[in-house]
């Protein structure tokens, strides 16, 4: 399962995408995804708003995830 990273989320993780693979079973819901990403990268915890998109559609915490879903983590950006 691939997680595409944008804005400050990309800077925090240090690369443009992150993959759950091998023994690491992919998360089964959006809330689990957020929890595990925040555990792996504690600085994500501090973001007041962090939108999650699943297959190019905004997703709420309760939404379930399945193998092959394309996920994007999108924080707000402010520059102009």
């Amino acid at each position: 399962m691939e997680v595409l990273l944008f804005g400050i989320a990309k800077d925090i993780v240090g690369k443009p995408s992150f993959r759950f693979e091998g023994e690491d079973a992919p998360p089964s819901s959006v809330s689990e995804l957020k929890k595990r990403m925040k555990a792996a990268f504690p600085e994500l915890e501090r973001l007041s708003s962090l939108a999650v998109a699943v297959n190019s559609e905004y997703a709420e915490d309760g939404q379930s995830l399945k193998q092959g879903d394309e996920i994007a983590l999108i924080p707000p950006v402010s520059g102009g």
Binding site: F6, R46, A51, A53, Y58, A72, P75, V77, G79, G80
Partner: protein, 355 residues
Amino acid sequence: MERYQRQIQLSDFGREAQEKLMSAKVLVVGAGGLGIPILMYLNAMGVGTLGIVDQDRVSVSNLHRQVLFSEGDVEKPKVGVLARKLREQNSATTIVEHPVFLTKENAMELIDPYDLVVDASDNFSTRYLVNDACVIQGKPFVYGALHGFEGQVSVFNYNNGPTYRCLFPNMPKSDEVPNCNEHGVLGILPGIIGNLQALEAVKALTGVGEVLAGTLLLFNGLTNTFRKIRFRAQRQNFGITRLKDSYELACAADISGIAPLDFLKLVERQRLQLIDVRTEKEFKRNHLPLAKNIPLAELETRLGEIDFGSEVYCICQSGIRSKKAIRKMQMSNPNARLIDITGGMNQIPAHALKC
């Protein structure tokens, strides 16, 4: 009408759309990297009235991306310079100068006469303020924002469509996300995003094409890729009836800070413990004479070098990493007195530095 002939002859645009543009009133909030291409194209294409809100003056570090400014404009107020150049470009446009920052005190009045707002600002406070004021007044606004090589574009509050808060409900705190000044931006990026905003503004005003309402467009300049994310309106975000009491970026409640100049005055009177959490290379370039260098990346293993029995002042380049460092120190030393030097080395005058 002759000057608009090439777009009037487009069958999907035509005289009707041109007339809509010519009677339209658009407010552009922010006269910087995004605002300049937006203003230049809306002006060239014949939008009847353009208002510009910004209190900044042109600085040398603006020139690589704010391409209507020349070297001779440095130090001049942006709105005045732009108004003059835009009037030269199209004398038929009514250019309205608002040489102020958008605040909760003036936002409702400033936005009121306009049909559509373009958010070309560079900070979260203004973006959330634009959203809330436009929701209250029932006006659409075209959003555009940047981060490094990336950009975002959408049209909010358009025909009962979703708002900024439907995508990002809560305003970030001051230490979460850096702005262009801290993070940097490639000169061309605001040109691309600003032009996309101008296109969306034209579509929203004329009804031509499909407006990016309920769709967030993400642009990555490094790979030259676009991606669209669809999102829905959340009803609770339309219930705004008045502006919030404050749009100041909330500092993390538990971090106390001191202004750099106040800190320098304190230093004259007493010996203080100052930890500089920048990298060794940055520290070598310049630092305050009393500073001890413990780079953020090494902080956890070098906590033993800090005396938590007395006050610990913490500094970095711009004030982001010092807050991160304080959070780390708070975890292991919850009772320590930790103080952030607000804004970091960028705010320290050169004569106080040791190189």
